[in-house]
């Protein structure tokens, strides 16, 4: 249930931000707005129904989307309405499109493709072979992360352009190169999920080769660090920018972890341990949620407000960041302990493997409360700002 909650928050937040920002770039026509509003209504009602089913312990779906499979139908219908509304608008933009608009379009398309793909298990042919089934399932889930990252990183790029006032940020050769690199990773870099599944060897080797291109992102981040630092000095007073910088730091930490996990010889020790959870939570909270909170704050004009609300948002920011560092490290420690005891010491009993891990998981739980408190404080402040603001779209 917590995974579905995180996914719905991220996808809903990503779509919400890109729609409002697209509308600021060029106003949607009334037909397109109606289509997008229909999407929102079906999407929100479906999410509520999903959680009603969860609370009644009614499941039946697959990993991450564990609700009764029939609820995938309204999700697909809603997404088709979004696609029609968004792409009609997209095609009406005649000028050269900045990269963030392309990224938003890419994310919406690939979410649709991967959501359909992760429902292929309804077709018997896919389930005749367990290896085929698990490969397709994790291909879809892995690529879906890339799809929402396109939407969210697009929003981050948009905010950077708006804050700095430099349009070139979204229209230079370097960002196009990294766009194609991330698109290739979206398409082919999902294999680390199934390295230990005895599929055909080429599946593993292709994924390994593609994942090593992540070193280019890594090197690029280090190279641009100095420039980012001077930018930070200039813009550090802006709350929105702090969220972006925090997400960049988390991107750096998680990219380091991802590269390590993508090497099969290392993956052997990390797979099935809490290091995978650290990577997933570090990404969804540290990167995705920080960009979304920054973007929502930007839309609500957090930097134009003064006094209590802005101060509380800043408190929330620091509480969530400090807690998240402890949260993330405790998961890594838990993963190292589990991997060491299970794979190196070859302890057979699950209870015995987990006994020293529990301590790290207790710290993880306590720091999780800190993450919740920090993010709740930010959300409450945003809701107060939203009450004052009459119209966003």
């Amino acid at each position: 249930m917590h995974v579905s909650s995180a996914l719905f928050w991220i996808v809903s937040g990503a779509v919400g931000c890109l729609i409002v920002n697209s509308n600021k770039t060029m106003t949607f026509s009334s037909t397109n707005i109606s289509l997008i509003k229909s999407f929102m209504i079906i999407w929100i009602i479906t999410i509520v129904v999903v959680f009603i089913f969860y609370s009644l312990k009614q499941y039946g779906g697959r990993e991450y989307w564990e609700f009764p499979p029939v609820l995938s139908i309204p999700i697909v219908i809603a997404w088709i309405l979004l696609m029609i509304g968004y792409y009609r608008h997209w095609l009406s933009i005649k000028n050269k499109k900045p990269l963030y608009i392309i990224m938003w379009g890419t994310g919406i398309l690939f979410f649709f493709i991967t959501f359909l793909e992760q429902n292929l298990w309804h077709i018997d042919w896919f389930r005749e072979s367990y290896l085929r089934e698990i490969t397709v399932q994790w291909k879809a889930n892995g690529s879906m992360v890339g799809a929402w990252n396109q939407m969210i990183y697009g929003t981050s790029l948009y905010m950077m352009v708006r804050i700095s006032g430099n349009k070139q940020i979204a229209q230079n050769k370097s960002v196009y190169f990294f766009y194609f690199l991330s698109l290739s990773n979206l398409m082919f870099n999902w294999g680390h999920h199934i390295y230990n599944v005895p599929t055909a060897g080429w599946v593993r080797h292709v994924s390994y080769a593609i994942s090593m291109t992540e070193w280019l992102f890594f090197i690029s981040m280090i190279r641009s660090f100095k420039g980012k630092l001077s930018e930070y000095r200039r813009l550090k007073n802006l709350t929105t920018y702090r969220f972006i910088i925090a997400s960049e730091l988390w991107l750096f930490f998680n990219l380091t972890l991802a590269i390590m996990m993508s090497i099969p010889a290392i993956n052997m020790y990390t797979h099935g341990t809490h290091i995978t959870v650290a990577h997933a939570m570090g990404t969804t909270i540290g990167i995705n949620s920080m960009i979304l909170l920054g973007a929502i704050g930007y839309l609500l004009g957090i930097d134009d407000t003064y006094g209590r609300i802005k101060r509380f948002v800043q408190y929330g920011f620091y509480i969530s960041q400090i807690s998240l560092i402890i949260f993330w490290i405790s998961l890594i420690v838990a993963g190292i302990l589990k991997g060491y005891r299970g794979r190196v010491l070859n302890i057979d009993s699950f209870q015995e493997i987990m006994s020293p891990v529990i301590g790290a998981l207790k710290i993880f739980s306590i720091s999780g409360i800190g993450v919740l408190a920090g993010m709740a404080l930010i959300s409450i402040c945003y809701l107060q700002l939203l009450r004052k603001k009459k119209k966003i779209l």
């Binding site: 499941y59 367990y130 085929r132 698109l183 230990n196 005895p198 390994y208 099969p264």
Partner: protein, 134 residues
């Protein structure tokens, strides 16, 4: 130029996806019978994957069950599933549901080993799980 690169990448993606669907396994796996399918449905309806993993994928509250049948035996697995343990709740499953789950887990067990041993690691860092795959 941008559009061309995009289209080429997309075509490669579609071709790779179709190739993957067709050839990601060696095609020698036994098709699931009715009991296995029923066990698979129970696995999903009871949301077993939220706590357990298969090939390391799933929740982390409980152990990986990929090779539970070959390592712990059918009777031990049945007892755990039927009555639960200190941590695992009793899911109130009927004998038929338990047997179907055992059939499903046995079917998965026959697909391979979840744990990779150091001798499977190639000098490039990748695994060699099947000689055939090379």
């Amino acid at each position: 130029m941008f559009l061309r690169i995009w289209i080429v990448l997309f075509i490669i993606f579609i071709s790779y996806t179709i190739g993957l669907y067709m050839f990601c396994d060696d095609g020698t796996i036994l098709k699931p019978d009715e009991n296995i399918i029923a066990g698979r449905n129970t696995w999903q309806e009871k949301n077993c994957q939220s706590c357990h993993q298969l090939y390391g994928l799933g929740g982390y509250m409980g152990p990986d069950l990929t090779n539970i049948i070959s390592t712990k035996g059918v009777n031990r697995a049945k007892t755990f599933i039927k009555y639960g343990t200190g941590k695992m709740p009793d899911m109130s499953l009927s004998d038929e549901e338990v047997n179907n789950l055992i059939a499903y887990l046995s079917w998965i067990d026959n697909t391979g080993k979840s744990e990779i041993t150091p001798d499977k690691i190639h000098w490039t860092g990748t695994y060699i799980i099947k000689e055939k795959a090379w």
